[in-house]
């Protein structure tokens, strides 16, 4: 019994769908952000597995790409959480069912 590329891809797929469910269904805006971070992690795991099992041994492009994804994800998390704090200051809630200013 050995660990192949397919095992890692399955872990990535399951982690991505858990993150998708969290991002779609949670009511708290911070909870939605947690789902998005889970999806980022699943994608990074898939990139690293392809880099390990498919690309040639001297090529670290997959790793570099993951480093950039982590950078952008950190910037995105900082901005999204700042937005959540601003919404809370103005409306006393970050419950997305009650942030319905633009609903017709």
């Amino acid at each position: 019994m050995s660990v192949e590329l397919g095992h890692y891809l399955m872990v990535g797929a399951i982690l991505f769908s858990i993150g998708l469910y969290v991002a779609l269904a949670k009511r708290n805006a911070v909870g939605i952000l947690m789902g998005i971070e889970l999806m980022f992690n699943a994608v990074n795991l898939t990139l690293i597995s392809f880099s390990r099992f498919v690309s040639p041994p001297t090529d670290v492009s997959g790793h570099v790409f993951v480093v950039f994804v982590i950078t952008v994800a950190a910037a995105e998390a900082a901005l999204a959480l700042a937005l959540a704090v601003v919404v809370y200051r103005n409306r006393e809630t970050i419950d997305i069912d009650r942030i319905n200013l633009m609903r017709w």
């Binding site: 769908s17 969290v22 949670k26 947690m34 498919v54 570099v64 480093v67 910037a75 900082a78």
Partner: protein, 163 residues
């Protein structure tokens, strides 16, 4: 990867990562959900180590398990009167159906496709190679990333500043 240690490590880390992610969904307190999210991040870092991606694993621990989770905890604590019950909206059932469909689709594609795997060993070490690639082939994205980080920092400060 055939040796017993890697196989055992893979299965334990996978169970830890996915179990912690399920607990993020299931637990009824937002603070506990953040703590399980940190556990899931650390599990992913361990999976990176089994893939011989040492630099990315350390970056994952530093940035996700360290910085991003502390940011999320800050956001939870700065919104004290918001609901902390980690509840779902009316999209619970459609979201569950959609997530299951996505998992089945990606999983089927991952298993059916012939990925043209190369039989090769692990990387010896990646930090030096990544550093060379960042400053040689990928120097322009590297510089743009610094601009993005600066913009995000200024934006977050401007948004949250009280005046």
């Amino acid at each position: 990867m055939d040796d017993v240690g890697s196989v055992v490590a893979f299965w334990m880390l996978s169970v830890m990562t996915l179990g912690a992610a399920v607990m993020v969904v299931a637990v009824r307190n937002l603070i506990y959900a953040v703590l399980f999210l940190i556990l899931s991040f650390i599990g992913v870092a361990g999976l990176y180590l089994t893939l011989s991606a040492d630099f990315v694993a350390i970056a994952q621990v530093l940035i996700y398990a360290g910085a991003v989770s502390v940011l999320i905890l800050f956001a939870v604590l700065l919104t004290p009167r918001a609901a902390r019950d980690n509840a779902e909206t009316f999209l619970q059932v459609p979201g569950l159906v959609l997530a299951t469909l996505v998992a089945v689709t990606i999983g089927a594609i991952a298993l059916v496709t012939d990925w043209n795997e190369a039989t090769r060993g692990a990387f010896p070490e990646t930090a030096g190679a990544i550093g060379e690639a960042l400053l040689d082939k990928y120097v322009l994205p590297f510089e743009i990333a610094s601009v993005i980080l600066l913009a995000a920092m200024i934006g977050a400060i401007v948004l949250v500043r009280e005046d």
